[in-house]
Subunit: 319 residues, 2 copies
């Protein structure tokens, strides 16, 4: 099964949805429906032992935390505010009662930390790997939800934090487990970029690597992009001799998955002089260009050389 082909097949049916109810159909970081006068956003994400974490090598609390924070990263990408969560778990028969309870305690604690209480769930016990599936519902922040489709030519491309090496452990920190979902940064951005109720730009969270996820913005917005590889904020986990024989760190920053940072586009003037928000670095890494034939994303080097981006981000789950 090829995930992207399946997703495109699914999105084809979006046109059938009733636009009066469905404010945001499948294909963004969250869907959104109208209930009475209230807009409600929803996202679901699952993590599986052997794919997204290694049960044998990871503290249960970290796994439980990731199940929640991965979804919160999607909430941040919409500049929305989490409201509540439900969690479904498939537990291997031999997990043990104490560990099962610790898992739920840690999911609940993480959810409470982000004021997103767990209000329901489902438990299955079976002969398979541990699976945690979390759904979060959210409400819009200060402006309408930020969409992938909001990019326009001339806008700058920005990323939060540092990129790449998310699976590596560096100074006791393993980013794909310990990352902080960028909820506060996103709400500040909504205030900065929001105008007459609308988020002036596009936003996505980086789960599959900047190259892939910026590609989603380009597709949804019908634009192309120029990235400046020498400007990418490189994770210290990628520094020095940690990757002997590996390609340049910038390639990792461009294609490694699970950064859980935000990529957004905005008028360059609106971001003038801003190098951080809420204590998180914000880096200008490229420019949105008009649609054109040829590659969706090109790389522009300091010497003026431009080349198409061919290496795509790590394709989540399909490896």
């Amino acid at each position: 099964v090829r995930e992207l082909v399946l997703l495109n097949h699914i999105y084809l049916a979006n046109a059938q949805l009733d636009a009066a109810t469905v404010v945001i159909p499948p294909g963004d970081d969250m869907g959104c429906v109208r209930i009475g006068s209230q807009e409600v956003l929803v996202t679901v994400d699952q993590i599986v032992d052997g794919v997204h974490f290694n049960l044998a090598a990871t503290r249960l609390e970290k796994i439980a935390r990731k199940a929640i924070t991965r979804n919160l990263s999607d909430v941040a990408a919409m500049a929305a505010i989490p409201v509540a969560a439900v969690a479904a778990a498939l537990l291997p028969r031999d997990l043990g009662q104490d560990r099962a309870e610790a898992l739920f305690d840690a999911m609940r604690a993480t959810a409470n930390d982000y004021r997103c209480p767990l209000i329901g769930g489902d438990i299955g016990i079976y002969a398979g790997p541990l699976v945690l599936t979390v759904t979060i519902i959210a409400r819009p922040g200060p402006v309408a939800p930020a969409r992938r489709s909001g990019a326009t030519p001339g806008q700058g491309i920005f990323v939060t934090g540092v990129l790449g090496g998310s699976l590596l452990t560096y100074q006791g920190h393993t980013h794909h487990l310990d990352f902080e979902p960028r909820l506060a940064v996103a709400l500040r951005l909504a205030e900065l970029l929001g105008e007459t109720g609308i988020f002036r730009g596009a936003m996505i969270d980086l789960s599959d690597g900047l190259a892939t996820d910026l590609g989603h913005i380009c597709t949804a917005s019908n634009v192309t992009a120029e990235l400046w590889p020498h400007c990418l904020p490189i994770s210290p986990a990628l520094a020095g001799d940690r990757l002997p024989g590996a390609p340049g760190a910038w390639q990792h920053a461009l294609t490694d998955g699970e950064d859980y940072e935000l990529c957004f586009t905005a008028a360059v003037e609106a971001m003038e002089g801003l190098t951080s928000l809420e204590g998180v670095p914000v880096t200008h890494v490229g420019t949105i260009l008009p649609p054109r034939s040829g590659p969706t994303i090109s790389l522009k080097w300091p010497d003026g050389r431009v080349e198409p981006l061919t290496a795509r981000g790590w394709e989540h789950h399909s490896s």
Copy 2:
């Protein structure tokens, strides 16, 4: 891992939840939160190949349908109205593109049939059994959501439809795949039993068998119950020689899982003379009694004999 022990551990923490936001905490058929002035209900349920269906022996459309309708049965149990769904799927690597697309097409078609559009999802491809996890959000119906805690002594106990034998195929119908979630019946009940905005009774959907699920109502309501086994509406799938050597059909009706009917309690006068609602049989099968020491549920036979119910419903997933 024992599911009930784990659930009780989880519910212990409900007291910590902020009652201003969390209208219904974990432990009912759906949770409920307040967003602005709107109450929003949420439920999640997962089905797994080898536990809830047999991929090799079942049409994909039926599996996809069940993933949606199981959740809709929870919506019915709250007398709520479905609004939207999200679906997470873990697909075995060898499922094939066509079958993966057919699966999502069928989930979408079922969701649309019930005016509960799929607005998002997550896809994982892995070396494990097919898992479909569906979350549905809903809004309250004509009165506040029906709760498990609404039973009071003196009320009658009623069930919709017929019970037992859900896994058997009879005249081309396999109930656990083909059942109709009782959404319309539940809304009619809310009108019948609703008074000053409140559902006067308790309600639950029958997923683990009447004995177990009525037990949940008793626990949540702090009452006990007397059931009349000879009054249980028996599924025709259980009739005659289909179960040679099996215990009485009434025992199946009492303990078989996956009926996806409603069990509710109501003032007997309010239900006087009603034998069906929206074309679905409604049967009076017992009485709610005050709390007492001893068994939560007892069986009362026509000759006046009373015995404790010891056989419990089929414990979902743990077999």
